[in-house]
Assembly symmetry: C2
Homo-oligomer: 319 residues x 2
Amino acid sequence: MAAALEETPVSYEDLAAIERDFDNVETEIIRKQTELTTPLYASRQKTLSTIPNFWPLVLEQAPPDIDQYIQPSDSALLLSSLTSFSVSRFEAPTEPRSISLRFEFSDNEYFEDAVLEKRFWYRRAGDGWQGLVSEPVGIKWREGRDLCGGLLGLVERAYASCPSASAANKKEERKVTAEQKELAKTIENTGMGGLSFFAFFGFIGRRISAEENAVAVQEAGKGGVRAAEDGDEGEDMDDLELDMSLEIFPDGEELALAFADDLWPGAIKYFTQAQEQDALSDADFEDSDAEIEIDDLDQQEDGADDDADARPTKKQRSS
Amino acid sequence: MAAALEETPVSYEDLAAIERDFDNVETEIIRKQTELTTPLYASRQKTLSTIPNFWPLVLEQAPPDIDQYIQPSDSALLLSSLTSFSVSRFEAPTEPRSISLRFEFSDNEYFEDAVLEKRFWYRRAGDGWQGLVSEPVGIKWREGRDLCGGLLGLVERAYASCPSASAANKKEERKVTAEQKELAKTIENTGMGGLSFFAFFGFIGRRISAEENAVAVQEAGKGGVRAAEDGDEGEDMDDLELDMSLEIFPDGEELALAFADDLWPGAIKYFTQAQEQDALSDADFEDSDAEIEIDDLDQQEDGADDDADARPTKKQRSS
């Protein structure tokens, strides 16, 4: 079917202007939601902290868009040592879409850190892109227990070795540093299948400085995306490709949002699911007729439910 | 891992009370959002109506949780004849979670209706369940063109033949009507694989009357779920199982929410995707080096992206 925007009185700019209006309302809504829910979450957290294994039980029930990144060895560590998890919106009310994920751990044989906190800044780029960006967070792995095989350390060093692609000096050609070359080579040699969940802490995304964001937000407010200057777009693309090739966790933004928008608000729902599964697997099925009917219903529903497919695997693996 | 709620000072009722507070805030947020976005959507709709094929192009890009229900024959009908789509929250501000989906069609060879509108009421049951319920919507299929093979008509007749399971007379044992038996037999004989998207219009869900909802909402506000009376729960379960066995589109609520919370707010995003795909497939790849690099990047991302897997299939099928 032919796309027919050219034959209408509507331009891309008109559509972008509509999206901008919705975007402003959405931000306002998240701002309001943050204001109303922050005290509720604080009070919830106090209650939840008295329930042993609350967060490991929630993680066991995590939906596929989180579960798919948790390898069996990650699972062992998370289930035995995760003591708390929380999400905060640290730039609210100014930018309520920036989020911080905080994982707390008991003493464990894998790493020395008691807290791993990863911040995601909501940023706008000059080309109109918007989304979450982050900085690599290091983990103090114990000798021989690094689930990421040294990748996180390499990412930290490569990140520190090179100024942001979007810094004021962006017109100068960016040199690929020795640390970046080492990281790129390691990524190439490793292959990234079966990568540990903890590589998530190495996610960077697009490198958009606070300054570039501020300029882009201001220009967007005026109704335009920055016009590409001669050769400018080409350079941006090169930088973007370089950054992408050094990214060890390309789905970092999606995973962060799954934690913030699903696992965190749905924690009690997932915990209750865990309790029900536990009760079900403990139960004596005295009434075997009734049980068969329930099974039948479950099977009917399973056909169209991806969640149902993913969860039993997880349950088998981690309990 | 043992679930340990029993060993803590926290009860299920405490958790339910926390969820209730969040629920109230969420409803308030949706109310506010509806208030702020309704005028924006009305203005957007005016602009979109001037773009030929806007909604078919959006549907072509629909995410998997919608796309999975659209069969090739549905696709042919939707792509050639869907002229408009809209979502409204017809019980706002009182109950902003009730939604109505409105599909408008040009003259077509499949059915006589120019508009198919399906309403979903947000309801609470006495047992604490909350969600969307609906009523069957009939379609005036043209001779020999019924994509649902008569199922929608059967559902309408079975629905009309039997008062709500939750009506005041619920203590009386509900008799299974002849129309219900016919529907159940047809479902059993048909097998429901490859079912038409239009069976969605037959979704009913739980049969919760406005009265039962009002009582349940009031009791929930007081902090409790209705205690089951002797034998009461068993009867409710029987009714529920009967209703489930007569449901031709068990995922109706999920699909309604995917339309309302994803396709509708994201329409311009999906349309722009369609335009970009169109531009890509038309392009002359003069710079073949650059093209290879872009392909490489795409492949890196595809591995962990379900959407990317699902869309090309759709594109092949419908364009």
